[in-house]
């Protein structure tokens, strides 16, 4: 257990600069977009006033006030970039041990004790990064809201209450269960991705890709098959269907971990 945590720390230490720079970059850009939108809106009103020679209130009536929701509309794109970067990190966290000047994979595979700690060290690193991203993203939203209220002129502002764009509301639904669901889905994706990577690293090139395709087909078949059987049997109540679906999800999640550990133990190659 202690070694697993130390290994996790090692994984994070190696990409620490990257993690910090991504967080700062994303936060910086998001705040800039809010500041930019406020300034742009203000200039829009001023220009309209001078151009149409109307009072400020008339100009605002036509151009409409700016809400934080609109000011933060770019957040969802930046978050998408963040998600993409995390997925990249999930791939890089493995491949850097094979590629690159030093072949750390030798050291990892030679460590005494169970190789499961290698998988879980990288898995926990991803988990910590993902949860921190979600948490910090919320802090940035609150921070931008403060900056928004501080910068904008009172009568330019649509509403003083915090409003989130539709996509942001999908992520921040003000319900902790949803955060748990999102993190679980993210971790499932990470685990599935890890399995694919380990498949490639074990069987390399052609055979590896073949197995990856097989695994992807497997998950699709299981999902579709499950739904089809449930439809045809048609004896299940909706709750039972949900329970079955969740059971399939949990079992498959465990399968991806089990398969990865088996590959690490028997099939992996330097």
């Amino acid at each position: 257990m202690k070694q697993y945590l130390m290994l996790t720390n090692e994984e994070l230490k190696r990409s620490w600069k990257m993690i910090i720079s991504i967080i700062l970059a994303m936060a910086g850009i998001e705040i800039l977009t809010v500041v930019g939108r406020v300034i742009y809106h203000e200039r829009q009103v001023q220009e309209y006033m001078s151009y149409a020679k109307v009072s400020e209130s008339d100009a605002i009536r036509t151009i409409e006030k700016l809400s934080f929701e609109q000011a933060s509309s770019y957040f969802s794109y930046i978050i998408l970039i963040g998600v993409a970067l995390v997925l990249l990190y999930a791939v890089q966290i493995w491949y850097r041990d094979w590629l690159g000047e030093s072949k750390y994979i030798y050291r990892l595979l030679l460590l005494p004790g169970n190789r499961a700690k290698i998988f879980f060290a990288k898995f926990t690193s991803l988990a910590l990064v993902i949860i921190s991203f979600i948490g910090l993203q919320w802090v940035v939203i609150q921070l931008s809201f403060v900056i928004f209220n501080w910068m904008i002129k009172d009568d330019y502002r649509a509403t003083s209450t915090l409003g989130l764009s539709r996509t942001l509301k999908q992520l921040y639904t003000m319900n902790l269960v949803d955060v748990l669901v999102i993190v679980t889905l993210a971790l499932f994706t990470v685990s599935f991705l890890f399995m694919l990577i380990l498949l490639e690293r074990s069987y390399r090139k052609t055979k590896g890709l073949l197995f990856i395709v097989l695994e992807v087909i497997a998950i699709v078949v299981i999902m579709m098959g499950g739904m089809y059987i449930i439809e045809t049997l048609d004896i299940f109540l909706s709750q039972e269907i949900s329970a079955i679906m969740i059971a399939i999800f949990v079992l498959y999640f465990i399968y991806t971990i089990w398969k990865s550990l088996r590959l690490l133990k028997w099939k992996i190659s330097v």
């Binding site: 130390m6 720390n9 620490w16 948490g135 910090l136 609150q142």
Partner: protein
Amino acid sequence: MRKFKFVVILAVVSVLTLGIYTVFIQSIEESDFTVETIKGNPKQPEVRSIQAELYDNGLKDVDYNVELDGHVQKKTNNFISDLFENPSEEKRAPADFRRFIRSDYVTMLKQDGISYAMGAPDNTKWELQYWEEGKQRVVKKIFPAPAEARKLGETQITPYKKIGDSLYVTIYDLQTEVGTQLYKIDLKGDSIQKINLSVSSQDEISLLGIHNEVIVYYVMENINGTDVSKEKLYMSNGKTTKRLKGLKSFSNGQTELSADGSKLIVLEREMNDFNWTLYDIKTKQVEKHSMDIPLVTDEFGLGEYTTLKDGLIYTANRLNDGIYNVRVIDPLSDRILYEGNIKDKLKREETSLNGLVLK
């Protein structure tokens, strides 16, 4: 500690930031509804069954079921909450009854707390199951399909209304989509009797009401050769059928026979004008009634819900941010049986009305 520095940092960051998020969630004020009765008694049977469905689509989407006696049920939704929610109201019904009503050949009627479910697995027999709220027992009856019905292809049986001990059902051929037949099932005597409504077998019957054996219905007959169809109103006691004239188009509004069977109520509601017409079966007289109701629609142009059930008009209208006026009106006498205002303490503009649920 040196060995876990970065793990600890990220763990602390996660816990701290999610903590901030949790604190923010707790800080969101939720709506708090009170009901101010203006007229009538919320305990009246017609009013007790009303549940106003309101939902708050602000930052935190919450659903509220407000009963007019002030009792409020609050439900916060999350991604998986509706996974385990039982869609049909029969939450507490026994599992096999819920399984029965789930099958797609079964249709259901809820009346006075009893759920009647009927279906024809094949056109040789009809299955009926009914369950009373709160009881564990489910009554199951299987009848041989009447001769007339066997001729049809795949039939869909729709229980219409229970009057006394008999349950009126209409059956409809799903394949040919032509013709509807009306049957009366005697629940005590377990017998099925066909009620002949003298109408060509092609036309589709829409029942408007039944009162001591007299059935009022209309038929959409398309004028031969054209695709335009005209509604024709009929009254029949199973033996003789009389055509009722004098009432123009009514099929787009909600139409029902009044409780005493004397008048047809046609309710039409267009945003701000709220009116209904009464058609006297005997005198063929048409009276137009209306009532002015203050309505301030929200930013999406919504804020009103009106329905006609068991001869009464139920309507809910948004007066202002977070204030909804609910009325129960007797269409015959224009009398307001009940009126009350549901008030949201926070006067939130995000609170909006989903509708009235009449148990």
